[in-house]
Symmetry: C2
């Protein structure tokens, strides 16, 4: 089977994306320890990678708290628990661009032509780097950047969830055997991975399970 | 003055780029400790940043040796000392894309709209991520990725050297007061920053000084 690199945060969307990718690829999961407030997602990523059976799982260390600018990378900025207008402060500057760039490096060395990302532009926080037009522009850029692409092996950025609702994502993943109890979506999960139940990410996740008609397996702090 | 983020490797091109940028911007220099074989370039970057007077200089740690795939990130692959056909093995997968992505993050937090990179597509090793078409595609992608761009503050990727010969670059930098004795270009510089004189980067640099009619200030190992 061909190889694919899957960006795996440890959340619901990336776990589902991995489950989809493993239907057609040897999977290499890539996570980033970027100093995220919800560090527990990395333990979840390890469990998801093990449960779904990847060929390799790398956790790259890259301290984005040295730039800050987000509630996820600066502890002085609180995670909002009420809906707000516009792009919320949980946006991390250039995050998906950085993660996809790291995936490019690994994919090229693996001689893979496929990267998977769980980006979604339906039930999402409005981050610009989750939209299809961004992903298309990244792919185009990548195919001008990489030696392998210039030599004829084009790179594809696959975002199989981009146009699905959260309920559709959950239905898809459940059908593929994803154990969502392992995943951590909460922006301020505690060290044990228990969710706050109040942040944007918790809200989208909870609504998704409700809309899908599935019991929510999330462990909440209270 | 407006702020700019300048990618500073410690080599000749990035030092010249910083000298150009400081003519119009408050400069924030960004280097990456990626496990490069020529680690001495980082000490050079510190000296160049100090000599040219930047507002801040950050060195981000990101271990690209965990992916390898290049003579610069895998010590098992020798640095070529003879010219070769095609893109040489000193190409580092996705390097400029990773570096520019990190620059995006910092620039967005600084509320800067300008990133400078010393990419050159004339006297260069043929790396695809140094070409103008790549840089244009990166800029286009960035302006779909960033919250600040979506909200109206477009990001520019400035590559003032992209169409210059090495001799023109040296002439430009010398006129701006760059002390090239501080810079390290060699792919296998020793710990003291002394150059091998034989790799691709040394060859391009040496020919540049000769063509410019300048005394080569490079310290060689022998």
């Amino acid at each position: 089977m061909d190889k694919a690199v899957i960006l795996l945060s440890g959340g619901l969307d990336s776990a589902t994306t991995l489950a989809i990718a493993r239907g057609g690829y040897d999977c290499y999961a890539l996570s980033v320890d970027y100093g995220q407030r919800h560090h527990a997602e990395l333990a979840a990523a390890r469990q998801v990678a093990a449960a779904l059976g990847v060929r390799d799982h790398r956790i790259v260390s890259l301290d984005l708290t040295q730039f800050g600018g987000s509630a996820l990378t600066d502890t002085a900025i609180a995670v909002p628990t009420a809906a707000s207008e516009g792009i919320p402060i949980t946006y991390v500057p250039a995050r998906n661009t950085i993660f996809l760039s790291l995936a490019l490096a690994w994919a090229e060395v693996l001689e893979s032509r496929d990267i998977f990302i769980g980006a979604n532009a339906v039930d999402y926080s409005g981050y610009p780097d989750c939209r299809p037009e961004y992903l298309a522009a990244f792919e185009r850029m990548a195919n001008l950047a990489l030696k392998s692409a210039v030599e004829g092996r084009a790179m594809r950025i696959n975002a199989p969830l981009v146009a699905l609702t959260k309920a559709e994502i959950i239905g898809r993943g459940a059908a593929l055997g994803v154990d969502y109890a392992l995943t951590v979506s909460c922006y301020q999960a505690d060290a044990d991975g228990r969710a706050c139940g109040r942040c944007d990410s918790c809200r989208l996740r909870r609504q998704g399970f409700a809309a899908a008609g599935w019991k929510d397996p999330t462990r909440y702090q209270r």
